[in-house]
């Protein structure tokens, strides 16, 4: 490594000399980086445990709420149709029903999902919602 850098320096000096001889050669930063930065004294910076260094016995329900973006494709198709027909809905009845059905299906499924979450029935399996996970964690907490 070092020899390579040394070679690099010689090349640079040769380059500089051709342009202007009066200026001092700039030492490339890579030379310092190769040596590395000196480590700090560990006694100067004692470790502080700001947050407890162990897992909690609960999970938040944020991830389960999920993204609310549904029926984007249907919406795009509907917009295209409406634009082609100058926003007269009569000519786009097929697209409209498809879009509304999609949204209704999505809302129904969301409602059902919420209902099952609120029921909080614990079942075996790996596809658990946050309430079920919390029940499990309450029953089998992390070792202290």
């Amino acid at each position: 490594m070092l020899t390579h850098f040394a070679f690099d320096v010689t090349v640079k000096t040769a380059d500089c000399s051709t342009h202007n001889k009066n200026k001092i050669m700039r030492v490339p930063g890579a030379l310092y980086a190769a040596r590395g930065r000196a480590p700090q004294n560990e006694n100067d910076v004692p470790f502080q445990e700001i947050l407890p260094l162990r897992l909690k016995n609960s999970v938040s329900g944020k991830a389960d709420s999920g993204a609310d973006v549904a029926c984007l494709q249907e919406m795009g198709v509907l917009f295209a149709c409406l634009k082609d027909n100058e926003f007269v809905e009569q000519y786009c009845s097929k697209e409209i029903t498809k879009f509304q059905q999609c949204y209704k299906f999505y809302m129904d499924r969301k409602f059902e999902a919420k209902k099952t979450v609120n029921q909080g029935i614990v079942q075996p399996g790996n596809n658990l919602n946050y309430k079920q996970l919390n029940k499990y964690l309450k029953r089998y907490p992390n070792p202290k």
Binding site: M75, L78, Y103
Partner: protein, 217 residues
């Protein structure tokens, strides 16, 4: 029911501590059925199920219409349902008069003229229902107008609100039933301010379609 179960959770394992209900009725209560025919067919099924009290503005006669009743509720101001009913009756009268006049004048499309005011009201509401709406969503400090699909309930609400708003925007001398009749007749034919408002909203949604993936809620 719901909050009592929280206390007895350890004793009764079946009881689950769910979110507290805001309704007067516990969740196992069933909504009453208005239609007599369905009542007769479902009578045995419901004989041992608790049913909620019957709402006092619903009945099983030919004078009752679900959409009409809803519209009546939106006309009502400060609980004065009597006045609202009077205004809607006058509106229907005005509609009927103009339509019969049109019928008797005798044009080319004489068979197409609808004289039933309630059908015209329903047609007007159906015609002015929006498909999408814009909702302001903040992303990175900027508010974007994002097109969002509407539920059926919300779209009916908006249609009725727009018709009423258009009718209420008038000169002092013009009476509400006359203006409302005009708006309903216009909207039923697919013309007028309410339909234009709906189309404008759709156009705006179309121009803002690039932000559609910002949606949440």
């Amino acid at each position: 029911m719901a909050y009592a179960c929280c206390a007895s959770k350890n004793i009764l394992r079946i009881a689950q501590c769910t979110t507290r209900l805001m309704s007067v009725y516990p969740s196992h209560y069933v909504s009453p059925i208005v239609d007599k025919n369905i009542q007769n067919s479902k009578g045995l099924e419901l004989s041992h199920i608790p049913i909620k009290a019957a709402p006092n503005d619903v009945n099983d006669t030919i004078f009752y219409g679900e959409l009409k009743q809803k519209f009546l509720n939106y006309i009502t101001k400060k609980g004065n349902a009597e006045l609202a009913k009077e205004l809607l009756t006058k509106t229907f009268e005005a509609i009927k008069r103009t339509q019969i006049e049109r019928l008797n004048l005798g044009g080319a499309d004489q068979e197409k003229v609808i004289t039933d005011a309630e059908t015209l009201l329903i047609n007007a509401i159906e015609n002015s229902r929006p498909l999408l709406t814009l909702s302001a969503i903040k992303r990175g400090g900027v508010k974007y107008q994002v097109p969002v699909p509407l539920t059926q309930r919300k779209s009916y609400f908006l249609a009725m609100k727009w018709i009423l708003d258009a009718a209420r925007e008038k000169e002092r001398k013009v009476k509400l039933p006359d203006k409302l009749a005009w708006e309903i007749l216009d909207a039923a034919c697919g013309q007028g301010r309410v339909i234009k408002k709906k189309d404008d909203l759709h156009r705006q949604c179309e121009t803002n379609r690039a932000y559609a993936h910002y949606r949440w809620s």
